[in-house]
Symmetry: C2
Subunit: 414 residues, 2 copies
């Protein structure tokens, strides 16, 4: 028997019911925050995707030659496509743009808990604004999505890359990109390897640096003002963001965490990652500001800030916290028949559907008892019984499947 490919999923109706509820909450929250939906193709030229993807992602791309000999690929992330969309129409598009999208992405990696080869990802971005208010809007929509989904065990760890960059300059660290890469891996690699990596980047006083990263809070970060321009910029930005988060009433879900770097190389300023409160699990999702990216795709200089949130980890989190919706379909009406009453069954179905109800009826020539069993299986809220005898008097029975209450009504009063 044929099987689906490893790392892909089939969603049967029961699962779709739950997923549609979750996606609806996500969409509504994004739209209330003033974001509008965009959709890009699932396939793009390999050059576009390879241009800025991190090395990790590049190795995992589903890439191939199409019949015309072009090297194309399934999109492994949204950023290249959305940057291209902006560059393609920059003249007509206003500022700022608040865009969201929930495309599918594909990455050829080993399927494991929280990682699949095909997944959905919510992408939320603001283009055209340098203001920390834009950073705050992006953080807020992320926080409100978590809250609206019923999640409680999460904390947004927020930093600004320029702080670490400036700090490393203070200590005369030569290879800052490599230092970022190592510091990003801190929780994922053995301490020995970590220290070794730092030393290789020329970080001798790593204890001092790590101490700063670990101990600075939003309350005392101001003490580091005046060291250099990069750090000052980062400090002002972070203080602004935390003030706005306070104004928006979501400050309690955030913490300053200067050790946050984000693996991908294109972030320029604010970066964040979301963890469970005890930081026991891997990062749930993250994002940040990437002011130079659109330009690198051929557009004008366009400040940008956003995040991507995958559905696989989200589902795991929601199930862990017991807030994943029940996987169960239902139906407003099932119309059962006794005898030759087809004309009325179709008539009643049409009438109820026109009123907006979801309606189905027997397609199996079953007897009444088996029809009722099926109605029960599909969780019909109400069953209408159309009998040969009753219909002659213009009557039908309506049974409420929850209360068991049954009443006889005029067929024209439906």
């Amino acid at each position: 028997m044929f099987q689906r490919l490893r790392g892909t999923r089939d969603f049967y109706p029961e699962e779709m019911t739950a997923r549609n509820k979750v996606f609806k909450i996500i969409r509504e929250t994004a739209e209330r925050h003033g974001f509008v939906e965009v959709v890009s193709p699932a396939i793009e030229s390999f050059d576009l995707i390879a241009k800025k993807s991190g090395e990790d992602i590049k190795e995992e791309i589903y890439a191939f030659k199409d019949k015309g000999g072009r090297m194309i690929c399934l999109i492994p992330e949204f950023t290249p496509s959305v940057s291209r969309m902006i560059a393609n129409r920059q003249k007509e598009l206003g500022k700022p743009l608040k865009w969201y999208s929930i495309p599918r992405h594909w990455r050829y990696e080993r399927p494991q808990s929280g990682r699949l080869r095909e997944f959905y990802q919510l992408n939320v971005d603001i283009f055209g604004s340098e203001s920390p208010k834009a950073d705050t809007e992006v953080l807020s929509v992320g926080i409100c999505i978590m809250l609206n989904l019923g999640l409680k065990d999460f904390l947004f760890h927020i930093s600004n890359r320029k702080f670490l960059q400036g700090l490393l300059q203070e200590y005369n660290v030569s290879n800052i990109q490599e230092a970022f890469r190592i510091i990003d891996k801190r929780d994922k690699i053995p301490e020995e390897e970590f220290v070794d990596g730092l030393l290789k980047c020329g970080i001798k006083d790593y204890d001092e640096i790590l101490d700063i990263l670990d101990s600075v809070t939003i309350e005392n970060i101001g003490d580091f003002r005046g060291r250099n321009e990069l750090m000052d910029k980062a400090i002002d930005n972070l203080i602004d963001i935390f003030r706005y988060l306070e104004y928006y009433g979501v400050r309690e879900h955030c913490v300053l965490d200067l050790s946050i770097v984000r693996g991908l190389a294109y972030y320029t300023d604010m970066v964040f990652e979301v963890y469970d409160k005890k930081k026991e699990m891997r990062s749930l999702f993250g994002g940040g500001r990437y002011d130079d990216l659109v330009e690198s795709f051929g557009g004008e200089h366009t400040p940008a800030v956003g995040f991507g949130m995958g559905d696989v980890v989200l589902e795991l989190m929601m199930k862990k916290e017991g807030v994943w919706p029940e996987e169960k379909t239902d139906m407003d009406y099932y119309i059962a028949n006794i005898g030759d009453v087809d004309r009325y069954v179709f008539f009643i179905a049409k009438k109820l559907r026109n009123k907006g109800y979801r309606v189905t009826f027997d397609l199996m020539e079953r007897n009444l008892s088996n029809q009722l069993k099926y109605a029960d299986k599909i969780n019909a809220k109400k069953v209408i019984i159309v009998g040969e005898k009753e219909i002659k008097e213009g009557k039908i029975l309506i049974r409420d499947m929850e209360t068991g209450k049954q009443e006889k009504i005029d067929v024209n009063k439906i």
Copy 2:
């Protein structure tokens, strides 16, 4: 500058607004007819797709080796995947199943009006029922989708393959599959080629056969009863379907058209294609019954009937009839600021969003006049103006952008 691949589309927010409205109507209509949503992967093993796809489709598949050396492809149609899904869980699934899905499909063909390389397709299917009521439900949901989208210029041309099959047997035609293929192409190839093709299949009396196909109506099809079992089955089935369509009140949108064959080889009984009333354009979409397919994918024998409706032709039709929704985004509230009132802007935004409104505010440090221009550009229905002076008295201004009416209200009364 990077461009999207030929035959793919970018959907910017304005276009998405229209598309989301159209897709919502499609979903709601399907769900009211008792269909529930399923989703399958976008990638499948090549063997699965190649097994039953028509030759035309097979040549157009985006197929490639993944990094594990498996031959996989982007799905060019939904039927193989959904058949696999049923076969994979047949034991647990009840009968009948009424499923719909709106996946993306990919076909490498020459992009032209109505045909793209990446497109969405509504797939609606009923599995497990042999009843002509199931055929009728599938036709009805198709008709109601067209009507609910505001379309008027369409007619469902309905046939049953077994009628033509039986008729060709009567005339001792040897190669019935080839005869089907030629008759399916009747409107698309020159008459000479058509007649030539018929002769090659051993159809000498093609005039007689074509006369029957062209002249028989649902009213007189009963006259052909008693010739052979296949024709009798088809006649009973078609008469039942048209009676049910009458009961459901959608008979006027249908016509018997025995020349309808459908290119794909897997249809077994009822087939239909939708045309504009004058049949000037190519078929808009079509479907039919395919009782043997699930079994051929390793499942139990599972009668099935359904259709696929692509979004490209649908959009063309709707635009032609002037019923494509306006491509325009809007916003419930834009909050403008004068002076240092950030605290209140965030507070008001949060409050309105919590009530379900879509809200945005200035992220560009613009002056009031430019803020109002932006509010106008994004079609804000209402603008709230938060001024330094007014807010000291706890007041804000609300301006209705349609009526121009403006009122000062208490900030706490939002």
